[in-house]
C-alpha cells in the first residue's frame, strides 16, 4: 500500500498552530487525536480515583467488622467505585481513547465523520463525570444503591441517587454520539480500496462496539429517566408498593448493561488483535473469523441479559432460555482466543511490554470467561449469585480483560501518539508486578465466594480473614505496579527518547505515518491493495 505522506511540510498534531494557543487550543480542538488524549487524561484521572476507593475497601476488609469506615460509608464507597469505573473509565476507555486516535488512521481517513460531534461527546463525558463525582458530596450522602441502581431500593433511598443517575444519563449520551460517529466513519471515511474485509481488526471491533453503543445505551437512558420519575412523582413503574414491577427494572437495566460489557471488552479484543501479529511478525490467523466474531458477540450479546437475573424471581422458562443463549455467546469469544493462540504458533515472538500485557489479557480473560460459564449455568449461578465469586469473575473480565488490554494498547501506541519511547525494562517489570498483584487480589475472591462470602458487605465471618488479608496485599502490590507503570509512561511521553516511525515493525497504516502524526494524518489518501497484516 502507499502511505500518502511526504509532499506537505510535516508538523505534528501536537505542535500544530491553530486559531488558539495553550489550553484553548485543546478545549476547542476538533482533531480526533487531541480529543483522544483529552479522553485519556480524563479516563486515567478517574481510574486512579476508582483505584483509591478500591484500596479503601481492601483496607476495610483487613479485619472483620469496622476497620476504617462504617457500613453506610462502605455502601457509598463501593457504589462510587462502581459508577466511576464502569461509566467513566471502562466504557469510554479503549473506544473513546484509542478508537478516537486510531480508527480514522487505521482506515486511512483524515478524521472522524463528525469532528464537532466528537468534541461535544467529550464535553458530555466531562459534564457527566463531574456530576457523578459531585453526587458523592451532596448533603443527602453518596448514592448507596450500587452501580446497578436496583429498584425499588434506588427509588426509595434518601441518598443522592438522582444526581448519580443523571450523570450516568449524560455519560450515556456521550457514548451514543461516539458510537454514531464511529459507524458513519467506518461506512464513509475508508481509504480507496479498503473494503470491509481488508479493514484492520481494531476498526472491526470498534464498528461492532459502536452498534451496541448506539442501540443499547438509549435503553439505560430511558430506564434512568423512569427511575428519576418514580422517585419524584411516585408513578409506580418499579415499586411494588405503587403497583410497579421491580423485575422490569432489572430487565431494562441489563438489556443495556450486559451489552455494555461488550462495549468494554470488544475494543479490548480489537487492540489485542492488532498487537499479537506485530509481536509475532506473522499474519493474523483467521482474519474473517475474528472480524465476524466481533459482530456475532455484539449481536448475541444483546440477547443474554437475563443471566444476571436468575435469582430475581424471573420465570423458570426464561431462566433456561437465557442460560442457553449465554452459552452460545461464549463461542465467538472462544474463536478469538483460539485465533490469537494460533497466530502465536511458530511466530517470531518478541516479549516487549505490549505483548506481555496481551498475554496477561488472554490468561486473565480465559479465567474470567470460563468462570462466566459457571455463572451462565442456572444451577451453579443460584449458589454463587451476589457472592465474592461474581466480584472475582467480573474483575477478571473487566480489569483483567479491558484493563490489561488498555495497558497493552497504551504501551503499543504511545510511541505513535507522543513520538517518544518509554523505558522498556521498567515497563516489563511493572507488567509482571501488575499481573502478580492482580491475581493475588482477585483469585481469593473466587474461593471465599464459593464458600459463601457475600459481595457488598463491609463485614464478614472470621474464617474469611486470611483470604481477605491475602487479597488486600494483592491490591497494594497491584497499586504499586500501576504507579510504576504510569510514572514510566508519563516520563517517556514527556522526555523519553525520540520514537522511530515504526518501533515494533507493525504492518498497519498508523506505522506508515511519522511519530507523532500530522494534523490530517495523510497528505494524500492512501490506496489500499493488500491485507493489513502482511508480514513478508
Amino acid at each position: 500500500m502507499s502511505n500518502g505522506v511526504g509532499k506537505v511540510e510535516y508538523v505534528s498534531y501536537l505542535e500544530h498552530k491553530g486559531k488558539y494557543t495553550g489550553i484553548m487550543s485543546w478545549l476547542t480542538t476538533m482533531d480526533h487525536k487531541r480529543i483522544s488524549l483529552m479522553y485519556m487524561y480524563g479516563v486515567m484521572t478517574f481510574f486512579f480515583v476508582g483505584v483509591v476507593l478500591g484500596l479503601t475497601m481492601k483496607v476495610e476488609h483487613l479485619t472483620p467488622g469496622e476497620t476504617i469506615m462504617k457500613a453506610q460509608t462502605y455502601n457509598g464507597v463501593f457504589t462510587v467505585h462502581g459508577i466511576i469505573m464502569i461509566f467513566m473509565v471502562v466504557i469510554p476507555g479503549l473506544s473513546a481513547v484509542f478508537g478516537n486516535f486510531f480508527l480514522p488512521i487505521l482506515i486511512g481517513g483524515k478524521d472522524v465523520s463528525f469532528p464537532k460531534l466528537n468534541l461535544f461527546s467529550w464535553y458530555l463525558y466531562i459534564t457527566g463525570s463531574i456530576l457523578a463525582v459531585v453526587s458523592q458530596f451532596m448533603k443527602a450522602g453518596p448514592p448507596d444503591s450500587g452501580w446497578t441502581f436496583y429498584a425499588p431500593y434506588s427509588s426509595s433511598t434518601g441518598t443522592s441517587v438522582i444526581m448519580a443517575t443523571t450523570a450516568a444519563f449524560i455519560l450515556g449520551f456521550s457514548s451514543i454520539l461516539t458510537g454514531l460517529n464511529f459507524i458513519v466513519t467506518v461506512h464513509r471515511m475508508r481509504a480507496p480500496g479498503m473494503k470491509f474485509f481488508n479493514m484492520p481488526l481494531f476498526p472491526w471491533s470498534l464498528y461492532a462496539t459502536a452498534w451496541i453503543q448506539l442501540l443499547a445505551t438509549p435503553v439505560i437512558g430511558i430506564t434512568l429517566v423512569m427511575l428519576i420519575a418514580e422517585r419524584l412523582f411516585k408513578i409506580g413503574f418499579f415499586d411494588p408498593a405503587l403497583g410497579g414491577d421491580p423485575i422490569l427494572f432489572q430487565h431494562l437495566f441489563w438489556i443495556y448493561s450486559h451489552p455494555a460489557v461488550y462495549v468494554m471488552i470488544l475494543p479490548a479484543m480489537g487492540a489485542i488483535t492488532e498487537i499479537i501479529p506485530t509481536f509475532c511478525q506473522k499474519k493474523i490467523y483467521g482474519y474473517k473469523a475474528i472480524a465476524l466474531s466481533s459482530l456475532a458477540i455484539a449481536g448475541v450479546g444483546f440477547l443474554v441479559w437475563g443471566h444476571h437475573m436468575y435469582t430475581s424471581g424471573m420465570s423458570e422458562n426464561a431462566r433456561w432460555f437465557f442460560s442457553l443463549l449465554t452459552f452460545i455467546v461464549a463461542v465467538p469469544s472462544a474463536i478469538k482466543v483460539f485465533n490469537w493462540i494460533l497466530t502465536m504458533y511458530k511466530g517470531s515472538i518478541d516479549l516487549k511490554p505490549p505483548f506481555l500485557y496481551a498475554l496477561s489479557f488472554i490468561f486473565l480473560f480465559i479465567i474470567g470467561g470460563t468462570t462466566g460459564l459457571l455463572l451462565g449455568s442456572v444451577a451453579t449461578n443460584v449458589q454463587v449469585h451476589d457472592t465474592a465469586f461474581v466480584v472475582a469473575h467480573f474483575h477478571y473480565i473487566i480489569f483483567g480483560g479491558m484493563g490489561f488490554a488498555f495497558f497493552a494498547a497504551i504501551h503499543y501506541w504511545l510511541p505513535k501518539m507522543y513520538g517518544r519511547m518509554y523505558n522498556i525494562k521498567i515497563a516489563n517489570i511493572a507488567a509482571v508486578i501488575n499481573f502478580i498483584g492482580f491475581n493475588i487480589l482477585y483469585f481469593p475472591q473466587f474461593v471465599i465466594g464459593m464458600q459463601g462470602m457475600p459481595r457488598r458487605y463491609y463485614d464478614y465471618p472470621a474464617e474469611f480473614q486470611p483470604a481477605q488479608i491475602f487479597s488486600s496485599i494483592g491490591g497494594f502490590i497491584l497499586a504499586f505496579g500501576l504507579v510504576m507503570m504510569v510514572w514510566n509512561l508519563v516520563k517517556g511521553a514527556r522526555s523519553g527518547e525520540k520514537a522511530p516511525d515504526n518501533p515494533w515493525g507493525g504492518s498497519t497504516l498508523e506505522w506508515t505515518l511519522p511519530s507523532p502524526p500530522s494534523l490530517e494524518n495523510f497528505d494524500e489518501a492512501p490506496v489500499i491493495k493488500e491485507n493489513p497484516y502482511d508480514y513478508k
Binding site: 461506512h187 464513509r188 438489556i255 424471573m314 420465570s315 423458570e316 422458562n317 426464561a318 432460555f321
Partner: protein, 99 residues
Amino acid sequence: MSNKNAHAVEHSGTDYMLLGKILVLLMFFTFATITITELDFGTLTLTVALLIAGVKSYFVIAYFMHLKHEGLLLKILVISVFILYILIVLITLIDYYYR
C-alpha cells in the same frame, strides 16, 4: 463522482407531492393511535398501538430519511435493528407470560 455529488443526483428527483401524501398518512395514523385508546382490544391493545407505530416508522425512515434511496447494506442494517428490538421484546415476554 464524489459521494456528495452522487447523493445530490440521487435526490434531485425528490417528489414533494409524494412526501406531502406521506405526511397526511402519518397524521392519519397519529389520529388512529389516539382513537384506539378509546377502543377495547383487550390484551391486544398494546400490540395494535405498536403495529401502528411500526408502520409510521417505516414511512418516516423510508421516505423522510431517504432509506429507499440507499444501498442494500444500509437497508439490511436498519432491518436488522428492527429484528433485534423485536427479539428483545419477545424474549422479555417469555418471562412475563410464564412467571
